[in-house]
């Protein structure tokens, strides 16, 4: 059964345990990084990077994604693409005033300044 026979699994046991320990360490790092009080964009980036590393470990080792078949990869790639669309496009709406002429009335300009 495609690399998942008893012998392979026996060898993989050690890997599972090591990944488990790594995940715990990275969790510690996540909490530790929080103590540094980075500026929000940096904090987000750091947190997401660490989470992505942890997530990739879970996905590739525990969920066997590193040995999975093309259909699974294909479905996941498609999903990840749409996931990114869902994350980013609505955000662009809120940030979009590019190209929109903002002709503020002088009094109102004081309120809108700084965004």
């Amino acid at each position: 059964m495609s690399g998942h026979d008893a012998e392979h699994v026996q060898k993989a046991l050690k890997t599972y345990l090591m990944i488990g320990v790594s995940l715990l360490i990275f969790t510690g790092i996540t909490v530790g990084a929080n103590q540094f009080h980075f500026v929000v964009p940096v904090a987000i980036t750091v947190a997401l990077i660490i989470a992505t590393i942890k997530g990739s470990m879970v996905a590739s080792v525990f969920m066997h994604l590193n040995q999975e078949k093309r259909w699974i990869y294909g479905a996941l790639v498609l999903t990840v693409f749409f996931f990114i669309v869902l994350m980013t496009l609505p955000l662009f709406f809120t940030l979009d005033n590019i190209g929109t002429a903002v002709k503020a009335i002088p009094a109102a300009a004081e309120h809108t300044g700084g965004h």
Partner: protein
């Protein structure tokens, strides 16, 4: 009414997959979009907010829960691995430990929620808490669902191992995939809600 559906246990040669394996991954893909929509909600509401609370959540408890869930992922994969190595007793032990860890997670969440409700701060209190309760609540429902499935495989479902050990092993594998996904969501939820 046992229709003989091919590739229920053995893999189809050209895809290399059994039906259930493809099925559970497709389900997980839909779950990615489900939680994705909630993360998108979080992003939109936070970007649009004039202020966003910090320090309202119990970070140590959240971190402990993260540790618990990671350990449960390890025991879950061990439960499946034991089956692959035909070690029924160890499989049962690991699966049971996974269930216990999951329940501890839920108990911790109960304490967290109770602490908030005690001060009258439920999901209605702010958009931050609304997002927190909804995302962790939905995640918690997924944990409960996983526990139910695991209890089934510890209980009445275990009989299948006698009849068709390969099919049972596959089902444990699929349960494990679901469980790892639930862990994965928490790996992102914890920093996003508790730390950022």
């Amino acid at each position: 009414m046992d229709m003989n559906i091919p590739y229920t246990v053995e893999e189809r040669p050209d895809t290399g997959l059994a039906n259930g394996k493809l099925g559970i991954w497709l389900f997980l893909a839909s779950e990615v979009m489900l939680f994705g929509a909630l993360f998108s909600t979080y992003i939109i509401l936070r970007v649009g907010a004039t202020e966003w609370p910090h320090g309202e959540l119990n970070i140590p408890l959240g971190a402990i829960n993260t540790v618990i869930l990671i350990c449960s992922s390890v025991t879950m994969v061990m439960a499946w691995a034991s089956l692959k190595m035909h070690q029924w007793g160890r499989h049962r032990m690991f699966l049971l430990i996974t269930v216990v860890l999951a329940i501890v997670f839920l108990v911790n969440k109960y304490f967290e929620y109770a602490a908030h409700f005690a001060t009258g701060e439920g999901p209605w209190h702010s958009t931050f808490l609304a997002v927190y309760f909804t995302m962790t609540g939905l995640h918690g429902l997924h944990i409960i669902g996983g526990v139910i499935v695991m209890l089934y495989f510890l209980g009445p479902g275990a009989k299948l191992y006698q009849k068709n050990p390969d099919q049972f092993t596959n089902r444990i594998e699929y349960t494990g995939l679901y469980w790892h996904f639930v862990d994965l969501v928490w790996i992102f939820l914890f920093p996003v809600l508790y730390l950022l």
